[in-house]
Amino acid sequence: MAIGQIELKRLTAIHGWSAVILGLLLYVVVATGAVAVFAEEIGRWSAGGLRTAAPLEQPVDATLRRLSREVEPEYREDVAVWGGAGRNLFAFFHTHAVNPDTGVLEDKGTMFRADSVTGKVIDRHDGFIWNDPAAWDDSALRHFLVELHVQLYLPSPWGLILTGILGLTMMAAVVSGVLMHRHVIRDLFVAERGGGRLVGARDRHALVSSWSIPFAFLLAFTGSFFSLAGTIGFPLVATVAFSGDQEALSATLFEPPAPVDETPATLANLNAMISDSRARADSEATYLDVAHFGRSDARVTVWHAPGHGGMIYPVNRYDGATGVWLGAQAPLGTAPSLGGTLYGLMYPLHFGHFAGVFSRIVWGALGVTMCVVILSGFRLWVRRREADPAWRRFGQAVQITGYGLPIGMLASGYAYYLSRPSADPFFWTPLGFVVGVALAVALGLRVPDERRYGTLAQRLLAVLCAGLPVLRLATGGMDWATALMHGQTDIVTIDLLLVIAGASLWWFARPKRPVVRLLTEPAE
């Protein structure tokens, strides 16, 4: 389709103004997303204890049978089981009931956190537990960083709707950007023109944007799907197709029908089913669901990480009473379908864990690249309008946000480790983020000069990065010798990355010769 001058102006306006209005929030989502790719590692680094195998790789049958006798009978309707950091095994025995506080149908039951090796119960929560993250997450730091990404730490559904809108904005920016740049292939290899000129800023933005086009579109699409599916999609489709019954819609999509038989029956050996499922999926189990525990119509479903060369999560289903394999479960419904395939691809493509740590490193790096895209775009916008004091102040706000977000995230880490021994880390961790951001803002207001602020912020970041592993160790975290001896390399890796980041940032913040700008150019 040929794009005329008028259409080009319109696309440029959409591309620019959507970024100006929502770009800073989008930067928060993208930057925290790049960190959230490593949520599992951050969980093990911040809250993990010593372990030789993932919790669901340990025998869980005896533990779950014992726990099933300690809950209300109606809570055996559905049992969700997953592994946390360290040796933590979470088991949630629950039914569905209307929460009197919210008036909404929610999960109600008993959440256990147990040691996957000894079976000892470490913690127990009863009731409508999803509103209390301490009941189901063992790392307040991971929880905070993921929540900041998923819904900007705002209450549901507003946070999800906002991040959904940001995802659509990012998609609009990608498509308009592609349509605006007539030479996308050439822009993949553009060399930034030096001298601090405006064209150099444009070159930088065009270069990083061009390389991240497919990734940006993919993440925008899948991200807005995740945010808006539950808040808007499900209720709307349920209204039309199931008279508003979202449970019926969910059952049609995710729960293959099984004949009802409430006759009591002992559950078959879960360890055998998990082991069989692992062999079929060729990857470790990540999640287990037992429907109708203790009944003849019990069903056991086992989810796995993508196997070698695969992208979609393998899922196996078993007759709970006999332990017989009923077949691989399609991502949606009872048979392979276009909808099921698309749905099955959404998670691995968004989270980037289809090829183990390698794909997650690539996804994390592309996330950082996206941050450069956003910030370089702002820089270009402000440079074109730097004669206007209001836009110069906006540029200052962009710089403060650019540094303030990572400062805040690191500060939340400090608050987490300081509060973990004897206070509530779920309360103090977000507060630490606020303090970090406030510090960055105060510094920015005190030091309005862009170059000086940049240097100070980089030095602050350097100190925060390098100091965090020290604080982790000082507050009882696992030492390197123990971690390496037991193969828990994530802990050492993250510590080292923080130290290297700190050293690099300190080096970048060294005094430099001022850049001599060549001839000023009229804004294009």
Binding site: L168, L236, V240, L332
Partner: protein, 112 residues
């Protein structure tokens, strides 16, 4: 109102009544904002709601309920960019209005 087959200012046959076409042509910026803003959102919601009625369910019986939710971002992006880039605003208004009205009507009939 005049016949919908009157020619408009560009010399093409208008698909809308002449008064409506003139109103649209007199306010191109406002109309484009309306189409790309609330228009695209309404089109996405209307299509999502109506897809279970016209999309084949497929062999697994789930495509008609899964695809509207899965394709939500595209259901918004297509009318949005159509509104932004369409050279003929009268035709774009007619298309978007038809998409919304026909599908909303189908949903209301099915719910009744």
């Amino acid at each position: 109102m005049q016949s919908s087959l009157e020619t408009n200012r560009t010399g093409r046959r208008s698909v809308l009544p002449r008064d409506a076409a003139r109103w649209i042509e007199a306010r191109p910026a406002l109309v484009r904002w309306l189409l790309a803003g609330p228009g695209a959102i309404l089109a996405a919601l209307a299509t999502m709601a109506a897809m279970p009625l016209w999309m084949p369910a497929g062999a697994a019986g789930v495509n008609d309920i899964a695809l509207p939710i899965l394709l939500m971002p595209l259901l918004w992006a297509v009318p949005f960019f159509h509104a932004v880039l369409a050279p003929n605003l009268v035709r774009a208004s007619a298309i978007l209005s038809a998409v919304i009205l026909v599908q909303v009507a189908a949903v209301l009939v099915s719910l009744a």
